[in-house]
Amino acid sequence: MDIIEHLKRKGLVHVARNCSEELELLPSGYERLDSLCSGGLAKGRISEIMTGPWGASSVIYSLLARATAGNGAAAVVDLGQGFDAVSAACAGVSLDRLLWVTPRGIKEAYQASDLLLATNGFVAMVLDLSSREIESTNAAWMRLDRLARGSNTVVLVLSRSGLVGPFAHVSLQVRRCRPVWRRAGDGKSSNAPFCLAGIDLDFVLHRRRSA
């Protein structure tokens, strides 16, 4: 049985799943997103967020904060080199348990994700491809999906428009990005300048697969 478990972990053996089997979830920290995903993002599966023109970086930082809490490690494969460590640290990410990789191109981004997933040592891995429009390649996603299934890692892919296609366990789109403006100081003075106090993201569910 140990051998079968080992092979299953490596993704070499697949066992038919019971439809009622529940996947382990990692809450993202975003209530609206978690409610759409039945409580969080699934471990061992690829989840996708289509950001459109909005950033959705607060989702990444929130997820990474959850992943790095309690001795977990997380990784970010950052194609656009847009990861902001200050925002991440303020969101609660333990930067010393974060691996930040900035690949040279899209092919290298897939390779890096492949290597990281093969270690099966990260609680979450974010593949941020939202910096530009990218053509989808099924072969790469099929491979990453297989590796993800053999691991216990939450794989979150950020893209402008859908990239992962049928290989995504859950596919969400940022529908709206509502800024929260408030006046500086105590917020009561009508002459005080405005400042951006926060951003409220709203998601819509595109696709969700059963377990």
Partner: protein
Amino acid sequence: MPVSIACLVIPDLPLASVYRSHPRLEQKPVAVCESDDSDAPILSVSTQASVFGIRRGMSRSQAKALLPDVLVFMLAQQWLRSALHALRDVALSFSPRVSKVDSDSVAGLLHGHVYLDAKGLYGLYGDENRLGRVMAHSAQKLGLDIRVGLSDVVHVAKLAALSATDTAPVRIVAKGTEQKFLAPLSLDILSLPAQLRRILDSFGINTLGKLASLPERGLKLRLGHEGMMAWRLSRGEPVEHFVSEQLRESFAEFSDTAWPMDRLEPVLAELEQVFVRLSHRLGCRGFVARALLISLDLESGDLWEHEVQPASPCLDTRVWLDAARLVLQAEPPKSPVEKVGARAFVLPARPGQGDLFRRTVLVSSRKLDEVLARLGAVAVTGGVGSPRLLNTHRPDPVEMAPVGRGGADFMLSCGDTVAIRRFRPPLRVEVLLGHGRPVRLDSPVFGGRIVRAAGPFSLRWGWWEDRAVQRDYYDVELSSGGLYRLFFDAVGKRWFADGVLG
């Protein structure tokens, strides 16, 4: 009581050095010549070539006449040195007390040998026979076919190794049986001076046993000091002592190409062979490479050298090859390549347990190092690590630290920080002002009417340096719904988008 000295011998050093550099030739007829001249004598012949009558001492032309397909290599000193260093690595992987590695000629055939102190190894390996077999096996991994001799007397251990065979590569001479072992051996094995050998031949002395049976007094009178030395050697008396030497480590491997190569792939293929040999040597000694100096001898006579550093010290030749490929693509050699070499700068391999980060990541340290090194090959320069915050007000105060050493060593004040994804470098944009405030944003990527803007938030930094930063930041909301952070660079009088908020 187990014997205390082991001697590792490469019986045919020229041929072994060729086979080590060209492992695919092991089943081919091969001869090794002293030089490139057609009349240069052959120093060494493979079994496959000797079947066709090719012998040591023949010229290259004679060998070619007997077998046109015979592969004749010129003896390369670099190959010999690499093979001897590899032999020393094998010895050092067993014992810290190892003699200087040396080469010597017996009956015209060059061999390499090294002694090591075998005391204390039997607890790990059992008996002498098992220890010898493990040593031979370990050398095989490094591409060396060696013989092992074990004895309490230094020169007897060497003679035992030289008298071992392909089928029985380990020869043990127990204490007190040295003379019995030496007696049937031919005098050829001692490499005696030619004059002494002629005299002994005239006496009818052709084995060590016969030499040992000669009376000491008469021998001393007739043959002098050299004769006495040979006599003592033949009796198995200790003549030389084991001396352990600490030498400067050198991990370098080379490969000679058959013809000048002007394409990247064949150069990489040669380099891969070099890396594999180097990796085996480092692995055998428990080292990893923190950097590699790749050197290419060019047809023009120039030397192309470049140091490559994997993201993490490792032994993975694929990682080294990826790094070498990148360097060669970025700075291709100016003329065809004739020789390929690599020197490793080493660190002791990390033991299994790691720090907190490594324990968190459920892979071994070595595995993680390999993954990090391979990530280094696919990432931009310095693009693998953990982010470390700098205690400064300069824009984007982040640097890439080694994995597990990120974070901040100061108290970070966050306030109402809104998450941002940065544009690196900042994106040049056009901003239209109305009453001194931004009202419209245009760029090749995004743009529109600005419906609300917060700011300016001024940043003045580095005014004490030449590269002063004077920026006025705005958080803006576009009519399309996009949220961006802009800044006006007061030094360059231009607008930039710093990132997208969200």
